[in-house]
């Protein structure tokens, strides 16, 4: 018998919380982006756990689409970061407080 789903869900909750706290605490935009990825991974783990627990492949389909959307999000987000930091020297989120270039 494999590990009960509660442990996986608790682990997923802990990982999600670490990612959320990191997003709030850190100032470096790239590290904040990585924390978003952590939260997405925690959600993926919960999806996979439910897919196993309920014997339903729909959870795995959801994870597939989350992966695709995360890849697109990272590409666009890093493009924005590169465009912003090409004209500024600061690397923290507080340095980006105006929308107008």
């Amino acid at each position: 018998m494999s590990v009960p789903a509660d442990f996986y869900l608790t682990l997923s909750a802990v990982m999600f919380t670490i990612g959320a706290v990191g997003l709030l605490v850190r100032r470096n935009v790239l590290v904040m982006f990585m924390c978003v990825e952590l939260m997405l991974n925690a959600a993926n783990l919960a999806f996979i756990t439910f897919a196993r627990e309920l014997n339903d492949v729909g959870g795995q389909i959801a994870v597939f689409f989350v992966l695709v959307v995360a890849a697109a999000e990272v590409v666009v987000g890093l493009g924005i970061i590169v465009a912003i930091f090409r004209r500024r020297v600061g690397a923290t989120a507080d340095d980006v407080h105006v929308l107008k270039g």
């Binding site: 009960p4 590290v31 014997n55 590409v75």
Partner: protein, 249 residues
């Protein structure tokens, strides 16, 4: 009945424990590392731990995708941007603009954690199964089941994601493209350098209002080449543009 880790068989329990610890340590490392490069490497560690947990739960295909796409492509993209921008210096922790925010963030995190943990121990409301199909017990492999569901039931979302990826690529190119106005020596400058005979490192400066178009710039370069090398004097004027020869360095 409370579930217990000992209810699992030893290999399953050990795998869960080791991979879970790896994923947790990696997650903490992402948040606590001062250096963004270390954060990215810790993120890879966390992703590998989660991939092992995917395999443990009969999601072999997604585990492979996790390692290949996330660890292989996305984190490498992160590292590429970190090193491209040269922002791999440490964060100035001492100059915290809002000291209370850190405390509040940790409190909020603990609150959310307790809430989710309590919810995860409840019985989950189970309705009808989705249209996706069973994950196990079909007699086929995980890749077969997933692919069959993806290319029949979820065909339209799958096609929409391809459009999404194309849009993302175009958006990234548009965002990261360097504007052409501040480019290096243009063809006009090269032609002016040949006509003038000398090495024109910084051929001319266009003093005027408005953005000069390419043709006007070429005209200015030609006027400059005709005028020889009277440094500093105005050498030509067209349509409100004054062409000045810059002293060579």
């Amino acid at each position: 009945m409370t579930p217990h880790l000992l209810a699992a068989t030893l290999p399953d329990g050990l795998t869960f424990a080791i991979a879970g610890v790896i994923a947790l340590v990696g997650s903490l490392g992402v948040v606590l590392s001062r250096n963004p490069v270390h954060s990215a490497l810790m993120l890879i560690m966390s992703l590998f731990g989660v991939a092992v947990l995917f395999v443990e739960q009969d999601a072999q295909f997604l585990a492979a995708v996790q390692v290949i796409v996330y660890a292989g492509a996305i984190v490498v993209l992160f590292l590429f941007v970190i090193m491209l921008l040269g922002v791999d210096r440490s964060e100035a922790i001492a100059t915290e603009p809002m000291p209370a925010q850190r405390l509040m963030a940790v409190g909020l995190g603990i609150l959310a954690l307790v809430e989710i943990a309590l919810l995860s121990r409840e019985r989950w409301p189970l309705g009808a199964h989705s249209v996706a199909g069973k994950a196990r017990g079909t007699g086929h492999s995980n890749v077969y089941v997933l692919g069959r569901s993806l290319f029949t039931t979820y065909l339209l979302p799958f096609e929409v994601t391809s459009a999404l990826l194309v849009i993302a690529v175009i958006g990234a190119i548009v965002l990261a493209r360097r504007p052409r106005t501040s480019a290096g020596p243009t063809e006009g400058e090269a032609a002016a350098a040949e006509a003038g005979g000398g090495p024109l490192v910084d051929a001319g400066e266009l003093v005027g209002s408005g953005a000069p178009s390419a043709e006007r710039r070429v005209e200015a370069e030609e006027a400059l080449a005709r005028a020889g090398d009277r440094i500093g004097e105005p050498v030509g004027e067209q349509e409100g543009l004054t062409v000045v020869r810059r002293p060579e360095q």
